[in-house]
């Protein structure tokens, strides 16, 4: 009813092509962002912040990075965790080794470093693709795992191989309370998603999509596959690197390479596929799904058990969690292989036409 475009006329291409072409969308998104900045901090408690919201925001950012590469450029990667690790460790080294380095700058520099490394690991994509490329990126993953574990320089010769950072601050604003952390990540995420949205709308994004849809045809119309693939790797790794640095600095505080293992890579790929490939909003849906679901199941199952008067052991809970998680994934893939974002889009289309579907 309220979501209708009657009477809204676009008088210029600019208006027609803007990010949120429908005013209702614009307002809704704006309201959501304002709510996230103002409303959420007032409503939720510390546990929500630390255990759910902050991981969700950071992993959304990472999923955004993966989505750029996998969803927009069609280059499948299982090495996302490696890029996050590079970002985290590079940021750590910038922070520790250069005196007076602002935290934000080192996080961004970490992202840049990840982008550089990402380009190197993107090189095999010029030769192979599909599953073979997935394996090539796995090589990157395992190599990074090893490098950060073994090469002591990266961890500042810490005897245990685990590194930790002091509280970070931004222009005099010390970020240590959960609310601060949340706001900090939220701010970065909003900026980065706007950037991503504009990137994929622009020249570069279109090149990526052309490559994704059919690389030979793309080459014929004058797109350089090398350039656009490597930029996709670079941009994606940059996002992942920043996300990795945030994960280390803000979420964990101290970490070891296991925080960015192959499991993380698979998790990110899950997010993108379940959320929706080639859709910015898909990254958020996917991240929310993957972050919240296990925690939700974990807390829910004992309750369900107690309804039936059963004492559910935690071992059983986590086994059942595995089972449900796995089957939900398969279920989603069967029902909606294009992800939650597609569901959302379909729903929106329906809503636009409602109540006159024809």
């Amino acid at each position: 009813m309220f979501y209708r475009e009657n009477g809204q006329f676009k008088t210029s291409y600019k208006a027609d092509q803007q990010v949120f072409a429908i005013p209702q969308d614009r307002w809704a998104i704006l309201a959501l962002v304002v709510f996230a900045f103002v409303g959420v901090p007032m409503l939720v408690d510390e546990y929500m912040f630390r255990a759910i919201l902050v991981p969700f925001l950071i992993l959304s950012l990472a999923a955004l990075g993966v989505n750029i590469l996998v969803g927009y450029c069609g280059q499948i990667t299982l090495g996302a965790g490696a890029s996050m690790a590079v970002g985290a460790y590079a940021a750590y080294n910038f922070m520790i080794r250069i005196d007076g380095m602002p935290a934000l700058a080192s996080i961004l520099l970490g992202g840049l470093m990840a982008a550089a490394v990402g380009i190197v690991f993107g090189v095999p994509s010029l030769r192979v693709r599909g599953l073979y490329l997935a394996v090539a990126t796995l090589a990157a993953q395992f190599f990074c795992d090893w490098a950060f574990l073994r090469i002591r320089w990266f961890t500042n010769d810490s005897s245990s191989g685990s590194v930790s950072v002091p509280d970070i601050s931004l222009f005099g604003w010390t970020i240590n309370s959960p609310t601060d952390k949340y706001l900090f990540c939220l701010g970065i995420l909003v900026v980065f998603s706007l950037m991503a949205k504009n990137l994929v709308r622009g020249n570069m994004g279109r090149q990526w999509m052309a490559i994704r849809d059919m690389d030979v045809a793309a080459t014929v119309i004058g797109i350089r596959p090398m350039y656009s693939k490597l930029t996709a790797f670079a941009v994606s790794s940059f996002y992942l690197g920043v996300a990795g640095a945030l994960w280390g600095f803000v979420n964990l505080g101290s970490w070891e390479p296991a925080a960015f293992s192959i499991d993380r890579s698979l998790q990110l790929l899950f997010m993108v596929i379940i959320g929706g490939m080639g859709a910015i909003s898909g990254s958020f849906f996917g991240a929310a799904f993957i972050v919240i679901l296990p925690i939700f199941l974990n807390q829910m199952l004992p309750l369900v058990g107690s309804l039936f008067g059963l004492e559910v052991s935690i071992a059983l809970v986590s086994h059942v969690e595995f089972i449900i998680f796995g089957s939900l994934i398969v279920f989603f893939l069967i029902v909606e292989p294009h992800g939650i974002a597609r569901l959302w889009a379909t729903g929106r289309e329906k809503l636009r036409l409602w109540p006159f579907p024809h």
Binding site: D45, I96, P166, E256
Partner: protein, 443 residues
């Protein structure tokens, strides 16, 4: 489609809300302990008995009447030995039932992550027999308690033991010791100390990392076969331990010359190797397998006989079960100490718990009274020493069970102390922590 999504969203939201609003009814005479356990995944065989012992002792305490009437309550959370899951568990449980008293993560990785959070939340992190070795220095690590043993102390005792076997520490000159370790913060802990000792006595240390989860060790043992070290130290966890012993068997390395840390010397590590592990030695963090101790009998009688035990009956008294039991005992006793200052029969806070942990003084009589005669030696902590006891001995697997095969050793303060001070000072500087002075401790 839409409907289903709505349903999912609604149920998610409902749970989110319930997580926020259900603060359980809280009674003043209950003392809450989160239990971060892992009963699934690659490390489950070792994590499960620990958790069972841990919970059983709290049950026993309640059967005994609590601590001056205060009952222990707890809630388990599955970490799967993963750091991020562990942190989530900690966040979830720390505020429940009026706040967690202390937390025992049973993972060096989670310990590292919680070390950052503990001072903020004012919840002590007890890491009996694991965690970061330098956290023994209570001046810098105000909230970490590596009670009863650190890896440095463990490695030190091992070196002393083989020194004694060779007929004096000076005889170690020119010997070669290979360290086969789990490639994680846990496995890397002893390296610093071994290198220190190597400098002192002139032996060689060969470092052989094994990647998680530790089922791939062929190459490691080929290297051992090649370099023929005089001793092999094993710093593994979970399946890595049994794999190491099997590979040692397969490459023909004598098990008698292998020494494991206390996390590599329990029943799950050797039982499916059986005879193949005969002669394998491991450190005993004071206790070994203690099926005959009084406390075990009491648990069997008061809990398992009534069907209230946690886990199978056969497990009671096994090495890791005892480790869990003792970890649990230490925190219960710290509650008792804290109550003596802050009010008997009252619930204590995390901050008061810290005082309790720093003033723990379990003499032999107290231990005997708890049914731990012959199991443990006295523990006495202070504000500056968060370990409290540096005793350990060696036990050996005879194909059926673990037997003690050495006298008690004590970690050498002269070696340990400087290392602890040096490393913790570095940490303090990095984190900009002002170490506590003895005056601060009195507060």
């Amino acid at each position: 489609m839409k409907l289903r999504k709505l349903a999912i969203a609604a149920s998610l939201a409902a749970v989110g809300l319930s997580a926020v609003f259900t603060t359980p009814a809280f009674a003043a005479e209950e003392q809450f302990f989160p239990v971060l356990a892992y009963r699934t995944g690659a490390y489950a065989p070792n994590g499960t008995p620990w958790a069972n012992g841990f919970v059983d002792y709290m049950k026993l305490t309640n059967v005994r009447g609590g601590v001056n009437g205060v009952k222990m309550i707890w809630e388990e959370c599955e970490t799967g030995y993963a750091t991020d899951r562990g942190v989530e568990c900690y966040e979830r449980l720390k505020g429940k039932h009026g706040g967690a008293t202390a937390v025992q993560p049973l993972s060096t990785g989670i310990t590292f992550a919680l070390t950052e959070k503990a001072p903020v939340d004012k919840i002590p992190v007890i890491t009996a027999g694991y965690g970061r070795s330098e956290s023994q220095n209570g001046a810098v690590f105000g909230w970490n308690f590596p009670l009863v043993g650190t890896y440095w102390m463990g490695a030190d005792v091992l070196v002393q033991h083989i020194g004694k076997k060779e007929g004096g520490l000076d005889k170690l000159k020119g010997k070669k010791i290979a360290l086969v370790y789990h490639d994680s913060p846990y496995g890397k802990e002893p390296i610093a100390l071994l290198q220190e000792r190597a400098k002192m006595h002139g032996f060689d240390v060969q470092l052989l990392p094994v990647a998680h989860p530790g089922v791939e060790q062929k190459a490691t043992w080929l290297q051992i076969r090649q370099s023929k070290p005089d001793y092999v130290f094993l710093w593994g966890w979970g399946v890595m331990n049994s794999t190491s012993i099997k590979e040692a068997q397969a490459t023909g390395y004598p098990r008698e010359k292998m020494y494991g840390v206390w996390w590599s010397g329990a029943e799950p590590d050797v039982k499916d190797v059986g005879d193949g592990a005969k002669g394998y030695n491991a450190l005993a963090m004071q206790h070994g397998a203690e099926p005959n101790s009084k406390v075990v009998k009491e648990i069997l009688e008061k809990l398992h006989a009534k069907g209230q035990g946690t886990g199978p009956k056969e497990e009671v008294g096994q090495v890791l079960y005892m480790r869990g039991l003792i970890s649990s005992m230490l925190q219960v006793e710290a509650v008792r100490v804290a109550q003596s200052r802050y009010g008997k029969g009252k619930r204590i806070t995390g901050e008061q718990m810290r005082w309790g942990l720093e003033n723990l003084n379990l003499d032999q009589k107290a231990l005997d009274g708890m049914g731990l005669a012959g199991v443990m030696r006295p523990v006495q902590t202070s504000c500056l020493d968060h370990m409290g006891s540096a005793w350990a001995r060696i036990h050996t697997w005879d194909g059926k069970k673990w037997n003690f095969t050495s006298d008690w050793y004590q970690g050498d303060e002269k070696v340990l102390r400087p290392l602890v001070m040096l490393t913790s000072a570095k940490y303090a500087e990095e984190k900009k922590i002002k170490p506590r002075t003895p005056e601060d401790c009195k507060k």
